[in-house]
Protein backbone atom coordinates (compact mmCIF):
# COMPACT_ATOMS: atom_id res chain seq x y z
CA UNK A 1 0.00 0.00 0.00
CA UNK A 2 2.64 2.53 1.06
CA UNK A 3 4.83 1.28 -1.78
CA UNK A 4 2.01 1.98 -4.19
CA UNK A 5 1.52 5.49 -2.86
CA UNK A 6 5.24 6.28 -3.07
CA UNK A 7 5.39 4.93 -6.61
CA UNK A 8 2.35 6.92 -7.67
CA UNK A 9 3.79 10.11 -6.18
CA UNK A 10 7.01 9.52 -8.11
CA UNK A 11 5.01 9.03 -11.31
CA UNK A 12 3.09 12.18 -10.48
CA UNK A 13 6.32 14.16 -10.25
CA UNK A 14 7.30 13.05 -13.76
CA UNK A 15 3.82 13.79 -15.04
CA UNK A 16 3.97 17.30 -13.58
CA UNK A 17 7.36 17.82 -15.21
CA UNK A 18 5.87 16.64 -18.51
CA UNK A 19 2.93 19.00 -18.14
CA UNK A 20 5.16 21.96 -17.38
CA UNK A 21 7.35 21.16 -20.39
CA UNK A 22 4.36 20.78 -22.71
CA UNK A 23 2.77 24.02 -21.51
CA UNK A 24 6.04 25.94 -21.71
CA UNK A 25 6.87 24.65 -25.17
CA UNK A 26 3.41 25.31 -26.57
CA UNK A 27 3.60 28.90 -25.40
CA UNK A 28 7.06 29.17 -26.91
CA UNK A 29 6.13 27.71 -30.25
CA UNK A 30 3.22 30.10 -30.45
CA UNK A 31 3.54 32.54 -33.33
CA UNK A 32 4.18 36.15 -32.29
CA UNK A 33 6.95 37.71 -30.30
CA UNK A 34 6.41 38.22 -26.55
CA UNK A 35 8.56 41.33 -26.74
CA UNK A 36 5.98 43.05 -28.95
CA UNK A 37 3.24 42.24 -26.40
CA UNK A 38 5.32 43.69 -23.56
CA UNK A 39 6.61 46.65 -25.54
CA UNK A 40 3.20 47.61 -26.90
CA UNK A 41 2.43 48.93 -30.39
CA UNK A 42 4.78 51.93 -30.20
CA UNK A 43 7.96 50.08 -29.26
CA UNK A 44 10.94 50.63 -31.58
CA UNK A 45 13.16 47.78 -32.69
CA UNK A 46 15.83 48.80 -30.18
CA UNK A 47 13.17 48.79 -27.42
CA UNK A 48 12.20 45.27 -28.44
CA UNK A 49 15.86 44.23 -28.46
CA UNK A 50 16.28 45.63 -24.96
CA UNK A 51 13.18 43.75 -23.74
CA UNK A 52 14.40 40.49 -25.27
CA UNK A 53 17.77 40.97 -23.67
CA UNK A 54 16.32 41.81 -20.25
CA UNK A 55 13.86 38.92 -20.23
CA UNK A 56 16.41 36.46 -21.60
CA UNK A 57 14.15 35.72 -24.56
CA UNK A 58 17.15 35.37 -26.87
CA UNK A 59 18.57 32.42 -24.94
CA UNK A 60 18.05 28.80 -26.10
CA UNK A 61 14.54 27.52 -25.35
CA UNK A 62 15.72 24.70 -23.10
CA UNK A 63 17.77 27.10 -20.97
CA UNK A 64 14.69 29.28 -20.64
CA UNK A 65 12.60 26.24 -19.67
CA UNK A 66 14.96 25.17 -16.90
CA UNK A 67 15.10 28.74 -15.73
CA UNK A 68 11.30 28.79 -15.60
CA UNK A 69 11.25 25.44 -13.80
CA UNK A 70 13.74 26.70 -11.23
CA UNK A 71 11.51 29.71 -10.69
CA UNK A 72 8.42 27.52 -10.18
CA UNK A 73 10.19 25.55 -7.48
CA UNK A 74 10.69 28.83 -5.64
CA UNK A 75 7.11 29.89 -6.23
CA UNK A 76 8.03 32.29 -9.03
CA UNK A 77 5.86 31.84 -12.13
CA UNK A 78 7.11 34.93 -13.94
CA UNK A 79 5.43 38.25 -14.56
CA UNK A 80 2.40 39.23 -16.59
CA UNK A 81 3.32 40.78 -19.95
CA UNK A 82 0.44 43.21 -19.67
CA UNK A 83 0.43 44.42 -16.08
CA UNK A 84 3.85 43.27 -14.91
CA UNK A 85 2.11 41.77 -11.87
CA UNK A 86 3.68 38.58 -10.50
CA UNK A 87 1.76 35.57 -11.86
CA UNK A 88 1.84 33.95 -8.42
CA UNK A 89 0.21 37.01 -6.93
CA UNK A 90 -2.46 37.22 -9.65
CA UNK A 91 -3.27 33.54 -9.11
CA UNK A 92 -3.33 33.73 -5.31
CA UNK A 93 -5.79 36.60 -5.27
CA UNK A 94 -8.15 34.83 -7.69
CA UNK A 95 -7.74 31.24 -6.61
CA UNK A 96 -10.03 31.17 -3.52
CA UNK A 97 -12.99 32.32 -5.63
CA UNK A 98 -12.50 29.48 -8.10
CA UNK A 99 -12.13 26.92 -5.31
CA UNK A 100 -15.31 28.24 -3.70
CA UNK A 101 -17.19 27.84 -6.98
CA UNK A 102 -15.77 24.38 -7.72
CA UNK A 103 -16.48 23.03 -4.23
CA UNK A 104 -20.02 24.46 -4.12
CA UNK A 105 -20.76 22.94 -7.53
CA UNK A 106 -19.36 19.59 -6.50
CA UNK A 107 -21.55 19.63 -3.38
CA UNK A 108 -24.61 20.41 -5.53
CA UNK A 109 -23.64 17.71 -8.03
CA UNK A 110 -22.96 15.00 -5.45
CA UNK A 111 -26.09 15.73 -3.39
CA UNK A 112 -28.49 15.89 -6.32
CA UNK A 113 -26.76 13.14 -8.29
CA UNK A 114 -26.56 10.53 -5.54
CA UNK A 115 -30.05 11.16 -4.15
CA UNK A 116 -31.63 11.11 -7.62
CA UNK A 117 -29.66 7.97 -8.49
CA UNK A 118 -30.73 6.11 -5.34
CA UNK A 119 -34.39 7.04 -5.74
CA UNK A 120 -34.28 6.04 -9.42
CA UNK A 121 -32.77 2.66 -8.61
CA UNK A 122 -35.17 1.93 -5.77
CA UNK A 123 -38.23 2.82 -7.83
CA UNK A 124 -36.96 1.48 -11.13
CA UNK A 125 -39.22 2.26 -14.13
CA UNK A 126 -41.58 4.40 -12.03
CA UNK A 127 -42.39 7.94 -13.16
CA UNK A 128 -39.81 9.27 -10.69
CA UNK A 129 -37.18 7.10 -12.37
CA UNK A 130 -38.20 8.13 -15.89
CA UNK A 131 -38.20 11.82 -14.95
CA UNK A 132 -34.85 11.63 -13.25
CA UNK A 133 -33.16 9.65 -16.04
CA UNK A 134 -34.55 12.05 -18.64
CA UNK A 135 -33.26 15.00 -16.65
CA UNK A 136 -29.92 13.25 -16.37
CA UNK A 137 -29.73 12.89 -20.16
CA UNK A 138 -30.71 16.50 -20.77
CA UNK A 139 -28.33 17.67 -18.02
CA UNK A 140 -25.33 16.19 -19.83
CA UNK A 141 -26.35 17.81 -23.11
CA UNK A 142 -27.15 21.30 -21.87
CA UNK A 143 -24.43 23.90 -22.57
CA UNK A 144 -23.64 25.22 -19.09
CA UNK A 145 -22.99 28.78 -20.27
CA UNK A 146 -26.48 28.79 -21.75
CA UNK A 147 -28.05 27.28 -18.63
CA UNK A 148 -26.36 30.03 -16.62
CA UNK A 149 -27.75 32.69 -18.93
CA UNK A 150 -31.26 31.24 -18.66
CA UNK A 151 -31.02 31.02 -14.86
CA UNK A 152 -29.95 34.66 -14.73
CA UNK A 153 -32.86 35.57 -16.97
CA UNK A 154 -35.37 33.77 -14.74
CA UNK A 155 -34.08 34.37 -11.22
CA UNK A 156 -32.19 37.63 -11.54
CA UNK A 157 -33.90 39.54 -14.32
CA UNK A 158 -37.52 38.37 -14.05
CA UNK A 159 -37.97 37.59 -10.37
CA UNK A 160 -35.01 39.61 -9.09
CA UNK A 161 -34.40 37.03 -6.37
CA UNK A 162 -30.70 36.41 -6.85
CA UNK A 163 -27.77 38.59 -7.91
CA UNK A 164 -26.77 38.64 -11.59
CA UNK A 165 -23.15 37.82 -10.98
CA UNK A 166 -19.96 38.17 -9.04
CA UNK A 167 -18.78 36.23 -6.01
CA UNK A 168 -17.71 38.99 -3.71
CA UNK A 169 -19.14 38.25 -0.25
CA UNK A 170 -17.76 35.47 1.98
CA UNK A 171 -19.67 32.22 1.39
CA UNK A 172 -20.87 31.89 5.01
CA UNK A 173 -22.87 35.11 4.83
CA UNK A 174 -26.43 35.22 3.47
CA UNK A 175 -25.32 37.43 0.57
CA UNK A 176 -22.47 35.07 -0.23
CA UNK A 177 -24.83 32.07 -0.27
CA UNK A 178 -27.21 33.90 -2.58
CA UNK A 179 -24.37 34.72 -4.96
CA UNK A 180 -23.23 31.09 -5.05
CA UNK A 181 -26.59 29.44 -5.82
CA UNK A 182 -26.87 30.11 -9.57
CA UNK A 183 -23.20 29.56 -10.49
CA UNK A 184 -23.10 26.32 -8.46
CA UNK A 185 -26.23 24.96 -10.14
CA UNK A 186 -24.94 26.04 -13.56
CA UNK A 187 -21.63 24.29 -13.11
CA UNK A 188 -22.93 21.33 -11.10
CA UNK A 189 -25.77 20.22 -13.37
CA UNK A 190 -23.75 18.20 -15.87
CA UNK A 191 -21.83 16.43 -13.09
CA UNK A 192 -25.05 15.80 -11.15
CA UNK A 193 -26.49 14.15 -14.25
CA UNK A 194 -23.48 11.87 -14.69
CA UNK A 195 -23.38 10.98 -11.00
CA UNK A 196 -27.12 10.20 -11.01
CA UNK A 197 -26.74 7.88 -13.99
CA UNK A 198 -23.78 6.12 -12.46
CA UNK A 199 -25.41 5.76 -9.02
CA UNK A 200 -28.55 4.33 -10.59
CA UNK A 201 -26.84 1.70 -12.72
CA UNK A 202 -24.38 0.78 -9.99
CA UNK A 203 -27.13 0.41 -7.37
CA UNK A 204 -29.18 -1.76 -9.73
CA UNK A 205 -26.20 -3.97 -10.38
CA UNK A 206 -25.49 -4.46 -6.68
CA UNK A 207 -29.17 -4.99 -5.80
CA UNK A 208 -29.21 -7.91 -8.25
CA UNK A 209 -26.06 -9.50 -6.82
CA UNK A 210 -26.01 -12.78 -4.93
CA UNK A 211 -24.98 -11.41 -1.57
CA UNK A 212 -27.88 -8.96 -1.44
CA UNK A 213 -30.26 -11.79 -2.28
CA UNK A 214 -28.72 -13.83 0.53
CA UNK A 215 -29.06 -10.91 2.94
CA UNK A 216 -32.70 -10.52 1.90
CA UNK A 217 -33.31 -14.23 2.39
CA UNK A 218 -31.77 -14.04 5.83
CA UNK A 219 -34.30 -11.37 6.76
CA UNK A 220 -32.26 -8.13 6.70
CA UNK A 221 -34.76 -5.31 6.70
CA UNK A 222 -35.18 -3.09 3.63
CA UNK A 223 -33.62 0.05 5.02
CA UNK A 224 -30.30 -1.35 6.26
CA UNK A 225 -30.23 -3.48 3.12
CA UNK A 226 -30.25 -0.38 0.89
CA UNK A 227 -28.31 2.05 3.02
CA UNK A 228 -25.66 -0.26 4.48
CA UNK A 229 -25.21 -3.28 2.26
CA UNK A 230 -26.02 -1.98 -1.19
CA UNK A 231 -24.87 1.61 -1.06
CA UNK A 232 -21.42 0.83 0.29
CA UNK A 233 -20.45 -1.29 -2.69
CA UNK A 234 -22.44 0.68 -5.21
CA UNK A 235 -20.54 3.85 -4.34
CA UNK A 236 -17.18 2.64 -5.64
CA UNK A 237 -17.84 3.26 -9.36
CA UNK A 238 -19.68 6.45 -8.39
CA UNK A 239 -16.51 7.67 -6.74
CA UNK A 240 -14.66 7.07 -10.02
CA UNK A 241 -17.15 9.22 -11.85
CA UNK A 242 -16.88 11.95 -9.20
CA UNK A 243 -13.09 11.84 -9.51
CA UNK A 244 -13.09 11.96 -13.31
CA UNK A 245 -15.70 14.65 -13.20
CA UNK A 246 -13.75 16.92 -10.97
CA UNK A 247 -11.56 17.58 -14.00
CA UNK A 248 -14.35 18.69 -16.29
CA UNK A 249 -15.74 20.67 -13.38
CA UNK A 250 -12.44 22.54 -13.12
CA UNK A 251 -12.55 23.12 -16.87
CA UNK A 252 -16.16 24.23 -16.50
CA UNK A 253 -15.32 26.87 -13.91
CA UNK A 254 -13.55 28.73 -16.71
CA UNK A 255 -16.80 29.03 -18.65
CA UNK A 256 -19.07 29.60 -15.64
CA UNK A 257 -16.87 32.39 -14.32
CA UNK A 258 -17.32 34.16 -17.62
CA UNK A 259 -21.12 33.86 -17.51
CA UNK A 260 -21.44 35.24 -13.98
CA UNK A 261 -18.58 37.74 -14.25
CA UNK A 262 -16.72 35.97 -11.43
CA UNK A 263 -13.12 37.06 -11.01
CA UNK A 264 -11.52 33.64 -10.68
CA UNK A 265 -8.67 31.75 -12.34
CA UNK A 266 -10.80 30.99 -15.40
CA UNK A 267 -11.46 34.60 -16.28
CA UNK A 268 -7.82 35.42 -15.65
CA UNK A 269 -6.90 32.72 -18.15
CA UNK A 270 -9.43 33.68 -20.83
CA UNK A 271 -8.36 37.32 -20.69
CA UNK A 272 -4.72 36.25 -20.88
CA UNK A 273 -5.36 34.02 -23.91
CA UNK A 274 -7.07 36.88 -25.72
CA UNK A 275 -4.19 39.26 -24.88
CA UNK A 276 -1.50 36.61 -25.56
CA UNK A 277 -0.19 37.14 -22.04
CA UNK A 278 1.75 33.86 -21.97
CA UNK A 279 3.12 33.84 -18.39
CA UNK A 280 -0.43 34.09 -17.04
CA UNK A 281 -1.69 31.39 -19.43
CA UNK A 282 1.21 29.11 -18.43
CA UNK A 283 0.63 29.67 -14.73
CA UNK A 284 -3.13 29.12 -14.80
CA UNK A 285 -3.03 26.08 -17.10
CA UNK A 286 -0.26 24.51 -15.01
CA UNK A 287 -2.18 25.09 -11.81
CA UNK A 288 -5.44 23.58 -13.08
CA UNK A 289 -3.70 20.57 -14.64
CA UNK A 290 -1.67 20.02 -11.45
CA UNK A 291 -4.78 20.10 -9.26
CA UNK A 292 -6.45 17.69 -11.65
CA UNK A 293 -3.71 15.05 -11.54
CA UNK A 294 -3.28 15.38 -7.78
CA UNK A 295 -7.04 14.93 -7.24
CA UNK A 296 -6.97 11.87 -9.50
CA UNK A 297 -4.16 10.39 -7.42
CA UNK A 298 -6.08 11.03 -4.20
CA UNK A 299 -9.18 9.38 -5.68
CA UNK A 300 -7.10 6.33 -6.68
CA UNK A 301 -5.72 6.05 -3.16
CA UNK A 302 -9.19 6.37 -1.63
CA UNK A 303 -10.40 3.46 -3.79
CA UNK A 304 -7.85 1.12 -2.35
CA UNK A 305 -8.84 2.22 1.13
CA UNK A 306 -12.57 1.67 0.68
CA UNK A 307 -12.35 -1.37 -1.53
CA UNK A 308 -9.65 -3.86 -0.54
CA UNK A 309 -10.37 -5.83 -3.72
CA UNK A 310 -8.66 -3.13 -5.79
CA UNK A 311 -4.93 -3.35 -5.85
CA UNK A 312 -2.46 -1.35 -7.87
CA UNK A 313 0.51 -3.52 -6.94
Amino acid sequence: MIGMIVRRILQLTFLLLGISFLVFMSMHLAPGDPATVIGGPNATSSDLEAIRDKMGLDRPVLVQYFDYLGGILQGDFGYSYQTNQAVTEAIITRFPTTVKLAVASMVVAVLIGIIAGIISARKQNSWVDVTSTTFALVGVSIPNFWLGTILILIFSVNFQLLPVGGLNSPFYTFEGMKELILPAITLGTASAALIARMTRSSMLEVIRSDYIRTAKAKGVRKRPLIWVHTLKNAMIPVLTIIGINFGSLLGGTIVTEQVFAINGIGRLMIDAIAARDFPIVQGTVLLIAAIFVVVNLIVDIIYTLIDPRISYD
Binding site: L15, I19, A30, P31, N144, I244, F246
Partner: protein, 298 residues
Protein backbone atom coordinates in the same frame (compact mmCIF):
# COMPACT_ATOMS: atom_id res chain seq x y z
CA UNK B 1 1.06 -13.32 -51.99
CA UNK B 2 -1.23 -16.23 -52.77
CA UNK B 3 -0.49 -17.83 -49.39
CA UNK B 4 -1.49 -14.61 -47.68
CA UNK B 5 -4.77 -14.20 -49.56
CA UNK B 6 -5.58 -17.88 -49.12
CA UNK B 7 -5.11 -17.65 -45.35
CA UNK B 8 -7.22 -14.51 -45.31
CA UNK B 9 -9.96 -16.35 -47.16
CA UNK B 10 -9.94 -19.13 -44.60
CA UNK B 11 -10.07 -16.67 -41.74
CA UNK B 12 -12.94 -14.78 -43.29
CA UNK B 13 -15.06 -17.87 -43.88
CA UNK B 14 -14.71 -18.70 -40.22
CA UNK B 15 -16.10 -15.32 -39.23
CA UNK B 16 -19.82 -14.99 -38.58
CA UNK B 17 -21.55 -14.21 -41.83
CA UNK B 18 -24.67 -12.65 -40.28
CA UNK B 19 -24.99 -9.04 -41.22
CA UNK B 20 -23.91 -7.15 -38.13
CA UNK B 21 -25.09 -3.85 -39.51
CA UNK B 22 -28.73 -4.94 -39.77
CA UNK B 23 -28.58 -6.35 -36.22
CA UNK B 24 -27.22 -3.10 -34.81
CA UNK B 25 -29.72 -1.00 -36.74
CA UNK B 26 -32.59 -3.15 -35.47
CA UNK B 27 -31.49 -2.86 -31.89
CA UNK B 28 -31.04 0.91 -32.28
CA UNK B 29 -34.55 1.29 -33.66
CA UNK B 30 -35.98 -0.68 -30.74
CA UNK B 31 -34.44 1.77 -28.26
CA UNK B 32 -36.89 4.68 -28.09
CA UNK B 33 -34.33 7.29 -27.05
CA UNK B 34 -31.90 6.30 -29.79
CA UNK B 35 -34.71 6.49 -32.30
CA UNK B 36 -35.51 10.03 -31.15
CA UNK B 37 -31.81 10.83 -31.41
CA UNK B 38 -31.57 9.47 -34.95
CA UNK B 39 -34.62 11.49 -36.00
CA UNK B 40 -33.15 14.70 -34.51
CA UNK B 41 -29.77 14.13 -36.19
CA UNK B 42 -31.47 13.42 -39.53
CA UNK B 43 -33.49 16.62 -39.24
CA UNK B 44 -30.41 18.69 -38.37
CA UNK B 45 -28.47 17.21 -41.27
CA UNK B 46 -31.38 17.96 -43.63
CA UNK B 47 -31.64 21.54 -42.32
CA UNK B 48 -27.89 21.99 -42.84
CA UNK B 49 -27.92 20.57 -46.37
CA UNK B 50 -31.01 22.42 -47.56
CA UNK B 51 -30.46 25.64 -45.61
CA UNK B 52 -30.20 27.84 -48.74
CA UNK B 53 -33.55 26.47 -49.95
CA UNK B 54 -35.52 26.45 -46.71
CA UNK B 55 -34.54 29.94 -45.58
CA UNK B 56 -35.79 33.15 -47.17
CA UNK B 57 -32.97 35.40 -45.93
CA UNK B 58 -29.19 35.18 -45.80
CA UNK B 59 -27.73 34.50 -42.34
CA UNK B 60 -25.85 37.83 -42.49
CA UNK B 61 -28.58 39.89 -44.17
CA UNK B 62 -29.37 42.86 -41.92
CA UNK B 63 -32.63 44.75 -41.79
CA UNK B 64 -32.31 47.57 -39.29
CA UNK B 65 -36.00 48.39 -39.56
CA UNK B 66 -37.06 45.01 -38.26
CA UNK B 67 -34.76 44.28 -35.30
CA UNK B 68 -35.46 42.12 -32.24
CA UNK B 69 -38.73 40.75 -33.60
CA UNK B 70 -40.11 38.03 -31.34
CA UNK B 71 -40.75 34.38 -32.16
CA UNK B 72 -43.73 33.95 -34.51
CA UNK B 73 -43.35 37.31 -36.25
CA UNK B 74 -44.55 37.67 -39.80
CA UNK B 75 -41.93 36.45 -42.25
CA UNK B 76 -39.56 35.51 -39.42
CA UNK B 77 -41.01 32.58 -37.50
CA UNK B 78 -38.04 32.49 -35.09
CA UNK B 79 -37.86 36.27 -34.96
CA UNK B 80 -34.89 38.50 -35.75
CA UNK B 81 -31.80 39.55 -33.78
CA UNK B 82 -30.53 42.99 -32.85
CA UNK B 83 -29.40 43.66 -36.45
CA UNK B 84 -32.68 42.41 -37.89
CA UNK B 85 -31.05 39.22 -39.15
CA UNK B 86 -33.44 36.29 -39.51
CA UNK B 87 -32.91 33.89 -36.57
CA UNK B 88 -34.04 30.80 -38.53
CA UNK B 89 -31.49 31.48 -41.30
CA UNK B 90 -28.76 31.92 -38.70
CA UNK B 91 -29.75 28.76 -36.83
CA UNK B 92 -29.81 26.77 -40.08
CA UNK B 93 -26.43 28.17 -41.07
CA UNK B 94 -25.15 27.39 -37.57
CA UNK B 95 -26.14 23.75 -38.11
CA UNK B 96 -23.73 23.58 -41.06
CA UNK B 97 -20.92 25.04 -38.95
CA UNK B 98 -21.58 22.74 -35.97
CA UNK B 99 -21.79 19.59 -38.05
CA UNK B 100 -18.72 20.45 -40.12
CA UNK B 101 -16.64 21.37 -37.09
CA UNK B 102 -17.82 18.24 -35.27
CA UNK B 103 -17.18 15.89 -38.18
CA UNK B 104 -13.80 17.31 -39.11
CA UNK B 105 -12.44 17.50 -35.57
CA UNK B 106 -13.66 14.03 -34.63
CA UNK B 107 -12.45 12.65 -37.97
CA UNK B 108 -8.95 14.09 -37.59
CA UNK B 109 -8.85 13.08 -33.91
CA UNK B 110 -9.85 9.50 -34.70
CA UNK B 111 -7.29 9.31 -37.51
CA UNK B 112 -4.50 10.44 -35.20
CA UNK B 113 -5.73 8.25 -32.36
CA UNK B 114 -5.98 5.16 -34.57
CA UNK B 115 -2.42 5.55 -35.84
CA UNK B 116 -1.00 6.10 -32.35
CA UNK B 117 -3.12 3.29 -30.88
CA UNK B 118 -2.15 0.78 -33.58
CA UNK B 119 1.53 1.60 -33.25
CA UNK B 120 1.45 1.47 -29.45
CA UNK B 121 -0.48 -1.79 -29.31
CA UNK B 122 1.41 -3.61 -32.03
CA UNK B 123 5.00 -2.52 -31.46
CA UNK B 124 6.11 -3.03 -27.87
CA UNK B 125 9.05 -0.67 -28.29
CA UNK B 126 6.81 2.25 -29.18
CA UNK B 127 4.19 1.42 -26.56
CA UNK B 128 5.62 3.16 -23.54
CA UNK B 129 6.69 6.31 -25.43
CA UNK B 130 3.32 6.75 -27.10
CA UNK B 131 1.29 5.93 -24.01
CA UNK B 132 3.28 8.33 -21.81
CA UNK B 133 2.46 11.03 -24.34
CA UNK B 134 -1.20 10.00 -24.24
CA UNK B 135 -1.13 10.10 -20.41
CA UNK B 136 0.29 13.59 -20.63
CA UNK B 137 -2.61 14.72 -22.82
CA UNK B 138 -5.00 13.09 -20.35
CA UNK B 139 -3.53 15.23 -17.57
CA UNK B 140 -5.43 18.23 -18.90
CA UNK B 141 -8.99 18.28 -17.66
CA UNK B 142 -11.90 18.76 -20.03
CA UNK B 143 -11.68 21.74 -22.26
CA UNK B 144 -8.36 23.01 -20.87
CA UNK B 145 -6.23 21.21 -23.46
CA UNK B 146 -8.28 22.79 -26.23
CA UNK B 147 -7.79 26.19 -24.61
CA UNK B 148 -4.03 25.69 -24.34
CA UNK B 149 -3.86 24.87 -28.05
CA UNK B 150 -5.98 27.90 -28.91
CA UNK B 151 -3.77 30.05 -26.69
CA UNK B 152 -0.86 28.84 -28.79
CA UNK B 153 -2.43 29.11 -32.25
CA UNK B 154 -4.73 32.09 -31.78
CA UNK B 155 -8.49 32.38 -31.74
CA UNK B 156 -10.39 31.15 -34.79
CA UNK B 157 -12.81 28.43 -35.78
CA UNK B 158 -10.12 26.51 -37.69
CA UNK B 159 -7.94 26.48 -34.59
CA UNK B 160 -10.91 25.18 -32.60
CA UNK B 161 -11.08 22.24 -35.03
CA UNK B 162 -7.35 21.59 -34.53
CA UNK B 163 -7.69 21.89 -30.75
CA UNK B 164 -10.65 19.54 -30.48
CA UNK B 165 -8.96 17.06 -32.84
CA UNK B 166 -5.91 16.88 -30.61
CA UNK B 167 -8.14 16.60 -27.55
CA UNK B 168 -9.87 13.57 -29.18
CA UNK B 169 -6.64 11.72 -29.84
CA UNK B 170 -5.80 10.25 -26.38
CA UNK B 171 -9.19 8.59 -25.79
CA UNK B 172 -9.16 7.03 -29.23
CA UNK B 173 -5.54 5.89 -28.91
CA UNK B 174 -6.35 4.10 -25.66
CA UNK B 175 -9.34 2.29 -27.15
CA UNK B 176 -7.42 1.14 -30.23
CA UNK B 177 -4.37 0.08 -28.22
CA UNK B 178 -6.60 -1.97 -25.89
CA UNK B 179 -8.24 -3.74 -28.83
CA UNK B 180 -4.90 -4.42 -30.49
CA UNK B 181 -3.41 -5.89 -27.31
CA UNK B 182 -6.40 -8.18 -26.86
CA UNK B 183 -6.21 -9.72 -30.33
CA UNK B 184 -2.55 -9.42 -31.23
CA UNK B 185 -1.70 -12.89 -29.93
CA UNK B 186 -4.69 -14.68 -31.35
CA UNK B 187 -4.03 -17.57 -33.67
CA UNK B 188 -5.26 -16.04 -36.87
CA UNK B 189 -2.95 -13.06 -36.48
CA UNK B 190 -0.06 -15.45 -35.84
CA UNK B 191 -1.15 -17.41 -38.91
CA UNK B 192 -1.03 -14.28 -41.05
CA UNK B 193 2.43 -13.52 -39.75
CA UNK B 194 3.66 -17.04 -40.50
CA UNK B 195 2.54 -16.91 -44.11
CA UNK B 196 4.44 -13.65 -44.49
CA UNK B 197 1.78 -10.93 -44.45
CA UNK B 198 3.24 -7.48 -43.90
CA UNK B 199 2.62 -5.64 -40.63
CA UNK B 200 0.70 -2.95 -42.48
CA UNK B 201 -1.61 -5.54 -44.04
CA UNK B 202 -2.23 -7.26 -40.71
CA UNK B 203 -2.89 -3.96 -38.96
CA UNK B 204 -5.25 -2.56 -41.55
CA UNK B 205 -7.08 -5.69 -42.68
CA UNK B 206 -7.24 -7.72 -39.49
CA UNK B 207 -6.53 -5.65 -36.42
CA UNK B 208 -8.31 -2.39 -37.26
CA UNK B 209 -11.70 -3.97 -38.13
CA UNK B 210 -11.79 -5.34 -34.59
CA UNK B 211 -11.70 -1.81 -33.17
CA UNK B 212 -14.58 -0.54 -35.30
CA UNK B 213 -17.36 -1.10 -32.75
CA UNK B 214 -15.83 0.86 -29.85
CA UNK B 215 -14.58 3.51 -32.28
CA UNK B 216 -18.06 4.11 -33.70
CA UNK B 217 -19.39 4.60 -30.16
CA UNK B 218 -16.47 6.83 -29.20
CA UNK B 219 -16.84 8.88 -32.39
CA UNK B 220 -20.55 9.46 -31.82
CA UNK B 221 -20.04 10.52 -28.20
CA UNK B 222 -17.13 12.72 -29.30
CA UNK B 223 -19.41 14.48 -31.81
CA UNK B 224 -21.54 15.57 -28.85
CA UNK B 225 -18.50 16.80 -26.93
CA UNK B 226 -17.03 18.49 -30.01
CA UNK B 227 -20.21 20.42 -30.80
CA UNK B 228 -20.69 21.42 -27.15
CA UNK B 229 -17.06 22.52 -26.78
CA UNK B 230 -17.03 24.45 -30.05
CA UNK B 231 -20.00 26.47 -28.88
CA UNK B 232 -18.44 26.99 -25.45
CA UNK B 233 -15.16 28.18 -26.97
CA UNK B 234 -16.99 30.50 -29.35
CA UNK B 235 -19.09 31.78 -26.46
CA UNK B 236 -15.86 32.64 -24.65
CA UNK B 237 -14.65 34.49 -27.73
CA UNK B 238 -11.95 31.89 -28.46
CA UNK B 239 -13.62 30.28 -31.49
CA UNK B 240 -15.94 31.64 -34.15
CA UNK B 241 -16.03 35.43 -34.01
CA UNK B 242 -19.10 37.62 -34.59
CA UNK B 243 -20.87 38.01 -36.95
CA UNK B 244 -20.36 34.29 -37.76
CA UNK B 245 -23.65 32.45 -37.34
CA UNK B 246 -22.18 29.94 -34.89
CA UNK B 247 -24.54 28.90 -32.09
CA UNK B 248 -22.20 29.65 -29.17
CA UNK B 249 -21.18 33.02 -30.60
CA UNK B 250 -24.86 33.82 -31.15
CA UNK B 251 -25.64 33.15 -27.47
CA UNK B 252 -22.81 35.45 -26.39
CA UNK B 253 -23.94 38.21 -28.75
CA UNK B 254 -27.53 37.92 -27.58
CA UNK B 255 -26.66 38.27 -23.91
CA UNK B 256 -26.70 42.04 -24.11
CA UNK B 257 -30.35 41.87 -25.08
CA UNK B 258 -31.56 39.49 -22.40
CA UNK B 259 -33.91 42.18 -21.08
CA UNK B 260 -35.87 42.91 -24.21
CA UNK B 261 -35.10 40.09 -26.67
CA UNK B 262 -34.11 36.94 -24.78
CA UNK B 263 -34.95 34.71 -27.78
CA UNK B 264 -31.68 35.79 -29.46
CA UNK B 265 -29.79 33.74 -26.86
CA UNK B 266 -32.42 31.14 -26.02
CA UNK B 267 -32.95 29.70 -29.52
CA UNK B 268 -29.31 28.84 -30.35
CA UNK B 269 -29.04 27.23 -26.88
CA UNK B 270 -31.94 24.94 -27.67
CA UNK B 271 -30.30 24.07 -30.99
CA UNK B 272 -27.06 23.09 -29.24
CA UNK B 273 -28.91 21.12 -26.58
CA UNK B 274 -30.96 19.13 -29.09
CA UNK B 275 -27.94 18.31 -31.23
CA UNK B 276 -25.74 17.28 -28.30
CA UNK B 277 -28.61 15.30 -26.75
CA UNK B 278 -29.18 13.45 -30.03
CA UNK B 279 -25.54 12.42 -30.42
CA UNK B 280 -25.38 11.40 -26.76
CA UNK B 281 -28.42 9.12 -26.88
CA UNK B 282 -27.42 7.59 -30.22
CA UNK B 283 -23.96 6.97 -28.74
CA UNK B 284 -25.58 5.29 -25.73
CA UNK B 285 -27.78 3.19 -27.99
CA UNK B 286 -24.82 2.19 -30.17
CA UNK B 287 -22.88 1.17 -27.08
CA UNK B 288 -25.72 -1.02 -25.89
CA UNK B 289 -26.07 -2.54 -29.33
CA UNK B 290 -22.39 -3.03 -30.12
CA UNK B 291 -20.62 -3.62 -26.87
CA UNK B 292 -22.41 -3.26 -23.54
CA UNK B 293 -19.25 -3.64 -21.49
CA UNK B 294 -17.37 -0.87 -23.16
CA UNK B 295 -16.07 2.04 -21.12
CA UNK B 296 -16.04 5.31 -23.00
CA UNK B 297 -15.76 7.61 -20.04
CA UNK B 298 -12.35 8.65 -21.20
Amino acid sequence: MSAVTETEKNINTEKKTTNRFVEVAKSLMKNKLSLIGIIIITLIVLVAIFSPIITSYGPYEQNLERTKLGVGSEGHFLGTDNYGRDMWSRIAHGAIISLLVGLSSVGIGLFGGIILGLLAGYYRKLDSIIMRFVDLLFAFPGILLAMLIIAMLGTSLVNVVIAISIWSIPGCARIVRGSVLSIKNQEYIQAMKTVGASDLRILLKHVLPNCTAPLIVYGTMRMATAILSTSALSYLGLGAQPPTAEWGAMIAAGQDFMWDAPHISIIPGIAIMLTVFAFNVVGDGLRDALDPNMDVNN
